[in-house]
């Protein structure tokens, strides 16, 4: 997919497979092509080649039918803020073909789910950022979509608003597939089951959250000792080893990185125990999503 006048593709052979009923995090640095992808997937932008198949249907051929299957909340999405929250949801429900009574019931239900019942009769323009985002997700859910597309749903929110929105997204998992595009890795790490990472329009990783962490684990451990004597014994023991290397020393604890060929830590621990060193704790550190992201996206 090319932008007019650009020689470099905005998206290049991007193939995504999104499992059903999970929270799918779509990650990438700024300008990686996340929003372009989400706009193509929602039919808001055209593309040069390829197809988007959702629930077995090519979307370009059945745009109206396809839109009945999706919900979408854009980055800092503006809604009709002269309406009340209830009116906005009723209007959205009517667009999805619900009768007046059904629309009212759906609107009340989704206001309840999004925790906005008390603000139902207030104009949307009076809502806080977090309330607007929750209302935005509620309107995106009202047509019972198969896929809910969320573009940076928390990027413009303060910490409280962010927590509210993440909790809400987490609460709707298993009801539909949530395709969430974000550059806030802590958010993705907190709620996503699967992630894919793109950079410069190309897919560079796609896996479940647990697999991605184990795949990029780097044999990093943290060890801590009870007293200074143990620390000096430890320091003298571990010098000049080709199997591991101390990368960080912080008071009584050390971060040690082991070579890839080390499959367990038994030899290392036996060495310390035999030397009479008392260990306070020993933890294998899992890489954070941020560690993986930085590793994959920096040249």
């Amino acid at each position: 997919m090319y932008y007019k006048g650009e020689k470099k593709p905005a998206l290049d052979n991007l193939n995504l497979e999104v499992p059903e009923n999970c929270i799918f995090g779509f990650l990438g640095p700024n300008g990686a092509g996340k929003t372009t992808t989400i706009k193509i997937l929602t039919g808001l932008m055209n593309y040069n080649s390829g197809d988007v198949i959702i629930d077995g249907e090519i979307i370009s051929k059945h745009k109206i039918e396809f839109r009945k299957k999706i919900g979408y909340l854009g980055q800092e999405q503006k809604m009709f803020d002269w309406m009340t929250g209830l009116e906005l949801l009723k209007f959205t429900a009517r667009i999805f073909g619900q009768s007046k009574v059904e629309a009212k019931n759906s609107a009340e239900k989704y206001l309840e789910i999004s925790g906005l019942s008390a603000a139902a009769s207030k104009k949307v323009k009076t809502y806080s950022g977090g309330m607007k985002q929750r209302l935005g997700i509620a309107q995106a859910l009202i047509g019972n979509p198969k896929i809910l597309f969320l573009d940076e749903p928390t990027s413009a929110l303060d910490p409280i608003g962010r927590k509210e929105v993440l909790d809400f997204i987490y609460s709707i998992r298993n009801k539909c597939t949530v395709f969430m595009c974000t550059h806030i890795l802590a958010d993705a790490e907190r709620i996503c089951d699967y992630v894919s990472i793109i950079n410069e329009g190309k897919l560079i990783e796609q896996n479940s959250m647990s697999n991605i962490k184990s795949k990029y684990s780097s044999n990093l451990v943290e060890i801590s000792f009870l007293n200074d004597e143990d620390i000096s014994k430890f320091k003298s023991l571990v010098q000049n080893s080709s199997d591991y290397k101390i990368i960080e020393n912080n008071d009584s604890s050390f971060k040690i990185i082991f070579n890839k060929n080390v499959t367990d830590y038994n030899d290392f621990l036996n060495l310390l125990i035999n030397a009479g060193i008392k260990i306070k704790f020993f933890i294998e550190k899992e890489p954070t999503l941020e560690d993986v992201f930085v590793k994959l996206t920096t040249k």
């Binding site: 706009k39 808001l44 039918e65 839109r67 667009i95 309107q139 047509g143």
Partner: protein
């Protein structure tokens, strides 16, 4: 299903124009100038007399008649009111592109054609309501201040003013669908309005063109024979605006 969505969108447009006070402002401003026109025509000799006294000048104006009132009305509606109306409606679609509410609608099962049709219908409704109110206001005040006038003449005259306003306001909606920026659509609409106002003198066959529609209002005042060609060509132009907007909005991408 489509007709339901169309009426739903139309209802939304009308409510939006009322609740954001744009539609109300449009109707109120035109009604205000409809009321001011006979009043200012009636009191003009008095006003000029008081000005001339302070300036030591002698200006004598003939006794105003209902014709002065109506001519003042035509001038106000087709000049200052049209200018204000362009400002009020210049963001009718472009603002929705700018703000993102268009995306809100277009990711839902809404045909873009219906969205455009609802916009043009809403503008037609507001222009028509305004035309009816203006007709009544200008008739009653002219009658009250200048004596008996023919209501049918006022209706005929306002029909041509209505066609004129329809062209201008439909051009505003068209330019609003063409551009993303409210300012650019406003400037383009104003440019069209200027061209439209001046174009009558450029063409020898302007009696057949939309630009000749206001001339027919003058023909009504002179009890002349009405030519409906400008009305017909005006409707062709209005339909062209609608068709072009539908074409443009179907090509629009949320970049």
């Amino acid at each position: 299903m489509d007709i339901k969505i169309y009426f739903l969108l139309l209802q939304k447009e009308i409510r939006e124009l009322i609740l954001t006070q744009k539609g109300i402002a449009f109707i109120a401003i035109l009604a205000f100038f409809s009321a001011v026109s006979p009043i200012s025509a009636f009191f003009m000799p008095e006003i000029m007399k008081s000005i001339s006294e302070t300036q030591n000048l002698q200006i004598i104006l003939p006794e105003p008649t209902w014709l002065d009132s109506i001519q003042q009305y035509i001038k106000n509606i087709t000049q200052i009111c049209t200018f204000i109306a362009i400002i009020i409606f210049m963001g009718f679609i472009s603002k929705e592109k700018e703000s993102g509410t268009l995306v809100f609608l277009f990711v839902k099962p809404v045909k873009r054609d219906l969205y455009i049709l609802s916009k043009y219908t809403a503008i037609t409704i507001f222009v028509s309501i305004s035309a009816i109110i203006n007709t009544v206001v200008v008739y009653l005040l002219t009658y009250y201040l200048f004596g008996k006038i023919n209501f049918i003449t006022i209706i005929k005259l306002n029909f041509f003013i209505w066609v004129y306003l329809m062209i201008i306001m439909h051009s505003v909606v068209f330019f609003s669908s063409l551009f993303k920026s409210q300012i650019i659509s406003g400037v383009s609409s104003f440019g069209f309005y200027l061209l439209f106002s001046l174009a009558g003198g450029f063409f020898s066959f302007s009696e057949y063109l939309p630009v000749g529609v206001l001339d027919q209002a003058s023909v009504v005042l002179q009890n002349g024979s009405i030519n409906f060609w400008p009305v017909l060509s005006s409707f062709v132009l209005i339909i062209s605006f609608v068709v072009l907007s539908i074409f443009l909005i179907n090509k629009w991408e949320a970049k």
